[in-house]
Symmetry: C2
Subunit: 177 residues, 2 copies
DNA sequence: GGAAATCACTTAACATGTTAATCATCTCCC
DNA sequence: GGGAGATGATTAACATGTTAAGTGATTTCC
């Protein structure tokens, strides 16, 4: 049930004019590309503001996540901020160096680290948040609040649909299920 | 017209139990996070197969784009594969080293470079494509073809909505319009 | 027709994504 | 209570994202 054949992917090879007229139509419509472009269109709105405050997108995600809790373990923070462990480790080192967060060992388990936002970090968040809210409101107004809610629901459903789909690379996998 | 106040973002600070019970609900529902998670859920399906063939996601995007045209200039390739110039430069260097693509100077303009996929590159594509199509088909089946088309249309509309929204960082911008 | 501005591409520098390996703890179980 | 295995976090190594600077080649325009 292949969606299309390679012959369709590369039509009219050798015909320069025709190939130049329709560059990558099917490819541009793939789901990963659609998601990538949509996200980039959104983030392009936020990045300049964050940059003005010396924050990257991921650093902002972490600080933003920390404002919602009193303290949180690193693994749990990675989950809610949707970052991989190694990325989070590096960013936490940087944020700790800038005194935007604080870190301490967990009480009952020396392996676990507990992170919290500092007063300085909270102050920074409070400086950035108003602009972010204005941008978010502008996006909502342009796209439509109802449509935005519907989109987010469909995105969530997509995530849920794929939740139990175990990769199945090429010849490996399904060896332990 | 701020969507919410900081007080709402960080409710019940100091109440560990409550904070732990609802970790970052609002934050997880932000549009950028929804798009990021959805895309990751999709790509997680494809990455193992690509990896088995020694390709990263971006390398695959480039080769995939090249199969649709006879040859293409670097800037146009960056546009269709949705990569920034510097990333593309590095990847092309690597792909050329692996003899998966070929590069030559444009006829009328020595600044421009023209790229095309090699026979070896085409062979690789033909080896990967079947698995990718199977995965894509599985995603379509799980999520629903109609729903998938609707989602892509909404993503395109979001992109279009934000097309003419000129950043407006904090205090700069709108200086040259 | 030549200096200045522009353009296409590349390099540089730093931050993150991604997988594998390492390190220190902790748990389990004998 | 001690060793094998599991777990939480970090480090390593490589690839890409992101912005700025650099390098030739080309166009503009006086």
């Amino acid at each position: 049930m292949a969606r299309k054949k390679l012959d369709e992917i590369r039509p009219e090879q050798g015909d320069d004019a025709a190939a130049r007229r329709t560059p990558m139509r099917e490819f541009s419509r793939s789901l990963p590309m659609s998601l990538l472009r949509a996200r980039e269109a959104v983030m392009r709105q936020f990045r300049p503001s964050l940059r003005n405050h010396g924050l990257t997108e991921q650093q902002w995600r972490i600080l933003r996540a920390l404002t919602a809790v009193d303290e949180i373990e690193v693994t749990e923070l990675a989950r809610v901020a949707f970052l991989l462990g190694p990325s989070l480790s590096r960013i936490l080192r940087d944020l700790e160096g800038r005194a935007l967060i604080e870190r301490k060992a967990a009480e009952n388990d020396a392996r676990r680290a507990v992170v919290s936002i500092s007063a300085k970090g909270l102050k920074l968040i409070e400086a950035v948040a108003p602009t972010s809210e204005v941008i978010y409101a502008a996006i909502t107004r342009r796209y439509g609040a109802r449509k935005l809610a519907e989109l987010q629901e469909m995105l969530g459903a997509l995530e849920a649909s794929l939740a139990g789909m175990g990769s199945a690379g090429d010849a490996e996998a399904e060896a332990d299920e």
